[in-house]
Every structure is written in structure tokens, then in C-alpha cells.
Symmetry: C2
Subunit: 353 residues, 2 copies
């Protein structure tokens, strides 16, 4: 994949790399004849026409900005890292690069937009971790800056900006269906304390699926919440098992790892005291995010199509940045993608011989 580079182009034209750099960045310093010759060669050589040539025409920097959110526990955080990788690749495929910055809060992020736009020359922004009454989307809209959000505006029905999100409720609903198909009827939900909009959404999917299956009469005792850690999963899982749950849908893999730890410590006679689970029925846990840890431990988990989400976001933002009177029709402005459950069996451990 030998792409022409500025160096190879300079060699071909018999000019210095500095001259080509000047053509692109400071054309007023280049003699008109040279300017025309180099510009023509750039277009003709197919030298990144999508990036360099468009940059010449539009004065865009071809640079998208995104705030890098702080590191979380790294278990559920791995989802944002997959997103970042997919975003960088999609942006590059569209001729853009991704520039990262840090901020302490949504408000601090807004304070940095001005400099990023005017000093760093960022063309548009990708936002993550959307919230209700998001100060960032308001600022960007008022300022006329192109942007796209990974995350819904939730109850802000007036929000018209482009966004892409993943339908968490559909994921927990599918988890309930799979567990019911295995014979479970006492399927619990272990959510986050203060789960916010995302947590509420995941819980609502479980509730609806339980209702649709006619299990809703059992619902009241089969839902609890815990801090989003493995130890939270242990305590929440124990509570739900004591209330008679035979299966647990969790809002995260951290919680699921803890709940699974409890299940593996239980001996058959301790499992469901007074409530036989029925022939062949095994206690089961489903996590959320399909993290590498879940894969390593053999835990089923709801997988989010973050790579698809990244591609959609780049498509939305680059359409916004391109000349919108072009031929292509506008992409769907609000995209809700469906996750799916990855089913696994716990690590098969042959007895040591």
C-alpha cells in the first residue's frame, strides 16, 4: 500500500518539501507558477485527494476533536477504548484525523471549544457521555459548530442535533428472553446505584421483557442495585439469590463477575433452599458490555456494536462538514443500534489428574 507522500511528491516535482508545505499552508509565499504546478500535481497524483485537496479547497484542517474521558475501572471502560479505536479508523478513512483533549467536566469542555476551534483549527467535535440538559450541545449549536454525539439526549425532546446510541433496553430484554428459553422464570436484575439514564434504560428493558413473558408478578423482589464493582456484584448477587433468583441480568460486567463468583461458590444444596431449580436448570448470569474479562471468564454478556456506532458518528459529522448541497442524501440523524447477547459457558476446567 505505497501511498504517495509529500516526500515522494517533492522528489517527483523537483521541489523541496518546504515548498509543498508552503503551497498547503502559506500559499502567499509561493511563486504563482510553482503554486499552480504543485496544486495540479497534488490533485493529479491522487495524493490523498480526500484530505489534502479538500483542505486546499475548503480551508478545513480535516481535524476532529474529542475529549478523552477519564479512565474508569477499566472493566467497563474498555468499551470506550474500542470506540476510540474505531473512531480513529473511520475518521482516517474519511480523510480526517482525530485530536484528543482532556477536560474536568462538561463545563470545562465547553471552555476549551473556543481555543480548539480557533487555535487548533478543529473542524468539528465528537461528544461522548451525553446527559440531560447537556451544556456542550447547547454551546455548539449556538456557535454553529458541527458536532455529533455518542449518546441520546434522553428526555430532551427538543434536541435536534445528530446522535448515535445503542439500545440498552433491547439488550437486557434479549438477555431475559434467552434465560427464559433455558427454563428460568425467576430472572432478577442487578443494576447500578444512581445508574442515571443509561442504568434506567437497561432496567426498563428487563422490566418490559419480564412483563411480556407474564413473570411480572415476581418482579418486585427480583431487582436491586449495587455500586458498580465486583464486590458490589457479590453482595447484590447474594441478596437476589436469597430472594429466590435463579438467573441474574446485570447492568455491567463488573457486577456480573461478582454475581458469578457467588454462584460458583454455592454447592447444589445451598442453591435455592426450598426451591429446587428443576432438572437441568443451572444458575446463570448475564453481564453487559461484553468486556475482555467476561470473555476470559466465560460469562455471557450483552455486546454493544461500538464499531458500528463509530462509523455512523463519523458519517453524520463528515456529512455536516462537507458541502451539504452535494448529491448524497443526508444520513439518518438519530441512530439507535441494537446490541446482542454473546452466550458463553463458564470456563471448562478439567479436573487435575
Amino acid at each position: 500500500m505505497a501511498r504517495p507522500t509529500l516526500a515522494s511528491l517533492a522528489a517527483e516535482l523537483g521541489v523541496s518539501r518546504q515548498t509543498i508545505s508552503n503551497v498547503l499552508n502559506a500559499p502567499q509565499r509561493v511563486k504563482p507558477a510553482t503554486l499552480d504546478r504543485v496544486r495540479a500535481a497534488i490533485e493529479a497524483a491522487g495524493y490523498r485527494p480526500s484530505a489534502a485537496a479538500r483542505q486546499l479547497r475548503t480551508r478545513r484542517s480535516m481535524n476532529l476533536g474529542m475529549r478523552l474521558m477519564p479512565v474508569t475501572d477499566g472493566i467497563n471502560g474498555s468499551i470506550l477504548d474500542r470506540f476510540l479505536h474505531a473512531l480513529t479508523e473511520s475518521a482516517q478513512g474519511a480523510g480526517y484525523r482525530l485530536t484528543l483533549f482532556c477536560a474536568d467536566s462538561h463545563e470545562d469542555e465547553v471552555l476549551q471549544y473556543g481555543e480548539l476551534l480557533h487555535v487548533a483549527g478543529i473542524d468539528g467535535f465528537i461528544l461522548t457521555s451525553s446527559s440531560r440538559d447537556d451544556v456542550r450541545t447547547k454551546w455548539l449549536q449556538d456557535n454553529g459548530t458541527p458536532f455529533a454525539v455518542f449518546g441520546r439526549p434522553w428526555e430532551d425532546a427538543s434536541a435536534q442535533h445528530p446522535w448515535v446510541d445503542i439500545d440498552g433496553a433491547a439488550g437486557t430484554g434479549e438477555a431475559v428472553s434467552i434465560l427464559a428459553g433455558q427454563g428460568h422464570t425467576r430472572i432478577a436484575f442487578l443494576g447500578w446505584k444512581d445508574g442515571g439514564s443509561v442504568g434506567d434504560d437497561r432496567q426498563s428493558g428487563w422490566e418490559r421483557a419480564m412483563g411480556a413473558l407474564g413473570f411480572s408478578e415476581d418482579g418486585s423482589g427480583l431487582c436491586t442495585s449495587a455500586t458498580d464493582t465486583v464486590t458490589g456484584g457479590i453482595s447484590g448477587g447474594r441478596e437476589l439469590i436469597e430472594r429466590g433468583a435463579t438467573a441474574i441480568v446485570c447492568a455491567s460486567d463488573s457486577l456480573a463477575i461478582g454475581a458469578a463468583e457467588i454462584l460458583r461458590e454455592l454447592r447444589p444444596e445451598q442453591f435455592l433452599p426450598g426451591r429446587p431449580a428443576g432438572p437441568g436448570l443451572r444458575a446463570a448470569v448475564v453481564g453487559f458490555d461484553d468486556t475482555p474479562v467476561a470473555a476470559a471468564l466465560g460469562l455471557s454478556s450483552v455486546a454493544q456494536p461500538v464499531e458500528d456506532a463509530a462509523r455512523h458518528i463519523v458519517r453524520l459529522l463528515t456529512f455536516e462538514l462537507a458541502d451539504r448541497r452535494g448529491e448524497g442524501s443526508a444520513p439518518e440523524q438519530h441512530v439507535l443500534l441494537a446490541p446482542h447477547v454473546v452466550e458463553r459457558v463458564p470456563l471448562p476446567l478439567a479436573a487435575p489428574h
Copy 2:
């Protein structure tokens, strides 16, 4: 933390944001009087003097480039993500931003340098995953481009470029000392198949520490390798336990999770057949990278100071980019940082009541 933004500066000076943008990016379009007034205000307001003002003086873009390596299994990969976060923060603290790009190989990375330097205006590069005979460092040196590497040049003694690395051998050596302090003498090493320079380094630390403790006579049977996965850890761990190991130092947390799975399945009478472990001696595993999974499962692990590494790399590269005749003395060009073992006990699971 209300930083002045270009917007607030524009309001204060009674000029448009476009004017300020022109002062920074196209000064030839601004009237000389306005130019002087805005430049003075930028300097005086302390408006990011390290970034904006230096950008005016030096014509640098204040943009550092780094290739985002492909997603790995996500267990050991989390270390590179922590590095990325720390790098973005350190760069921002020094007035620089971090721009990401993707490449298929070291060779492809080199092919993109030209465009990144001349079209995107990248000032310098941060490289990861160094290898022997690295084509990238050669290209950058020949081209006179500033860069710094996270990773040693290994046996390439002629390499003079700035690098920062973490002393893996010191980490596995410390793991051996800790296990020996607990009473273990049959301490094994579980490495990677085709571990490369990094794998060899981690193994050499174990070897040296075992020799120093006088345990080297047992060494031959207490070292094996496996593919870098949890199932690899299970098979490798079983092999080492059958050879009489009571403790295992692993080249990664993926391997350690697998080895720990084997240990927890063993009943006391299966552990060390014919070789009593001695009173109070518990089988033990130490992983490498101190990943979130290790923390969640209560596994001891060697922690790499990646945040320190990121700060050193930014210091090396920004020194290279700044006027080197300034007053500050040059930072150490080759930095080897020591990791340390985070000791943990496996998750304390109270018996269900």
C-alpha cells in the same frame, strides 16, 4: 477554572473571533495596528501563553502525532489505554495536543509520516511498540523529525534517540523475592510463546532472582510458555504445578488469571502430590500489568508506572521541540522506570448463609 477562551478574548477586545483566528493563522490578512493589539492581549491575558503565543513565535502547530495500536485482547491492552490518557493530559499540560492515526504496520506508519508532518502539520511523534531494527526511528532520524519512543531499542546499541521504558525484569525479580519471602522455593515462570524482547526481559528477571536466592538448581523444569490467553494460563499453570511449582510468576495477567483458575480448583490433597507445601504455605500467582481484571479478582500483579512514563516522554519530546539553546538542562535521554508488585489476596468470599 475559568480559562480565557478566544471567545472571551474577542469580547474583551471588541473584535470578532475570526479576527483573532486570522491573527493566529493568517496574520497577513489583519491590519498591523489590530495585529499588534491582539497579539499583546494574547500575551498579556495569559491566554494559553504556552500554546498560542509559542505558536505565533515558532509557527509550530503544537500537535503531537501518535499511531493508535490495534486493540489487543483488552486485558493486557488496558495498559496502553492508561498510557494514552496520561499522554493526552501531559501533552495538554505542556501546551500540546495529541493527534491519533492508524497504520497497518511499522512500514505503513512511516509512509504516513510525510503527510502528517506536511499536511496535518504535526510537530513530532510519539512511538510505541519499539522493535529491533525499527524502520520508524531510522526514517525520523534521517528526516530530522523530533520524536520519543515508549520502549527500548533493545540490542540496537547504536540507537541514540530519546526513549522511556519500564524495567520488566526488575518487576518479575521483585515478584520472586516476595514469593520467596512467603516461604516458596519452587517458584515457576509462565511466559509467552514467542514473547519477543519484552517476554525475554520478563523471563530474565525471574531467572536472575532465582539464581540470586540459590534456587537455580530447580530452574530447569520450572519455566514454560503458553499463548497469551486465559486458557493458555490454565494449561501452562497445570503443567507447572504438576512439576512441583508452588508459586507462579506470569508474563501477563491473562496467563495469571488462567493459572489462578487452576489453583482455586485444586483441593489441598491434590496440591503438590507427594510434596507438602509446608505449614501455612498457600499456592500463589503473580501476574503482570496490574490490569483492572487482576484487581477485580484479587490477583497480585506487577504494576507498570505508565503515567510516569507518559510524563517523561512528553518532557523529552517537548524539550526536543523547544529551542534547545534555552536555559533548562536537557532531560535524561534514556529513562528506565522501575515497576512494583501490587500484593493482593484472592476475593474474600464469605460462605453463603
